[in-house]
């Protein structure tokens, strides 16, 4: 399947996912920001295809799985680096977060490493490349088990109002 991301498709995807406010927020710069977002999405598709030999179709999610599209097209995810977007896509495809290392020190570059287990049982590791990558942490589902244990699993959009 060919994925052709252009300004109109990106505009349509953001509106469908409930992020039309972002386009308004961009105002006069909306066209430039949409083009930039589309290019960024193409980089993700290319990175994913290189790594896994499959072509993801984020725009197709808008119709097939609107809630997952809302998670992937959330501004936080769109701003993440391509490798971290690959991790997000793998989580949407059922991968579980097995381990997460996050180190923060005031004023220093944060360090974030994610280890995922795919439904095939394979382990994959991802490292944050950009400071904005750490914002994806707010989208991980949190389940408390046995009273004190925590399972981080799933990648979700904010609850709509």
């Amino acid at each position: 399947m060919s994925v052709q991301t252009d300004r109109e498709q990106m505009h349509s995807a953001l509106e469908s996912c409930g992020y039309g406010w972002l386009i308004e927020y961009w105002g006069d710069h909306a066209d430039d920001r949409l083009d930039e977002s589309a290019r960024h999405l193409e980089r993700f598709v290319s990175e994913y295809k290189t790594q896994f030999g499959e072509q993801p179709d984020p725009l197709g999610l808008v119709d097939s799985s609107p809630l997952k599209a809302a998670a992937f097209f959330h501004p936080t995810t769109l701003a993440a680096s391509a490798p971290i977007q690959c991790a997000v896509w793998r989580i949407l495809l059922g991968a579980e977060v097995q381990e997460l290392d996050f180190h923060y020190e005031n004023g220093q570059p944060p360090k974030l490493t994610l280890q995922l287990k795919t439904p095939y049982g394979e382990m994959e590791q991802y490292q944050a490349m950009e400071p904005q990558d750490i914002k994806i942490l707010r989208h991980l589902g949190i389940t408390v088990v046995n009273g004190t244990g925590v399972v981080l699993d799933g990648y979700y959009a904010p609850a709509p109002k």
Partner: protein, 142 residues
């Protein structure tokens, strides 16, 4: 022995991806499980990407602990030796996509693993979202 199922009802918070929550709860405790739509006769395993991001899974489906168990259910239905191995899930749409309910029919209320799956489902389905709607764009816009 009565082999009829018992229905458990879970309200689904608005905006929660109920199917994803159910799949993950099952995956965590029944990693070898297979799923079948109520409307077709194909058993799918969790490594089928269409289950996760396609629309191949409908609003009513069955989850079996493993493929062998699924075949057993298909052949003989509910029986004493498979009562703790299947969940019948229905996601009922509410008005304006609100007030949705997830109904899970189980055949063994006492089974520890089934209780864990239901607890994980309940927690996820009740979660109104892990993320506040407020996020800072100022830094990104600068």
């Amino acid at each position: 022995m009565d082999m009829s199922g018992v229905d458990r009802y879970f309200p689904i918070a608005y905006g929660v991806d109920a199917t994803d929550i159910v799949l993950r709860a099952c995956q965590r405790h029944w990693p070898e499980c297979v799923l079948r739509n109520a409307t077709d006769d194909e058993d799918r395993s969790l490594d089928d990407p269409d289950l996760w991001i396609g629309n191949s899974l409908g609003k009513e489906f069955f989850v079996y602990r493993c493929r062998r168990v699924a075949e057993c259910w298909h052949k003989q239905g509910a029986a004493e030796d498979n009562r703790d191995s299947m969940l019948h899930v229905m996601i009922a749409a509410g008005e304006n996509d609100r007030n949705r309910i997830c109904v899970v029919e189980i055949h063994d209320e006492a089974n520890n693993m089934i209780q864990k799956i239901l607890a994980a489902m309940e927690q996820g389905l009740n979660d109104a979202g892990t993320v506040p709607e407020i996020y800072l764009l100022a830094g990104e816009a600068a």
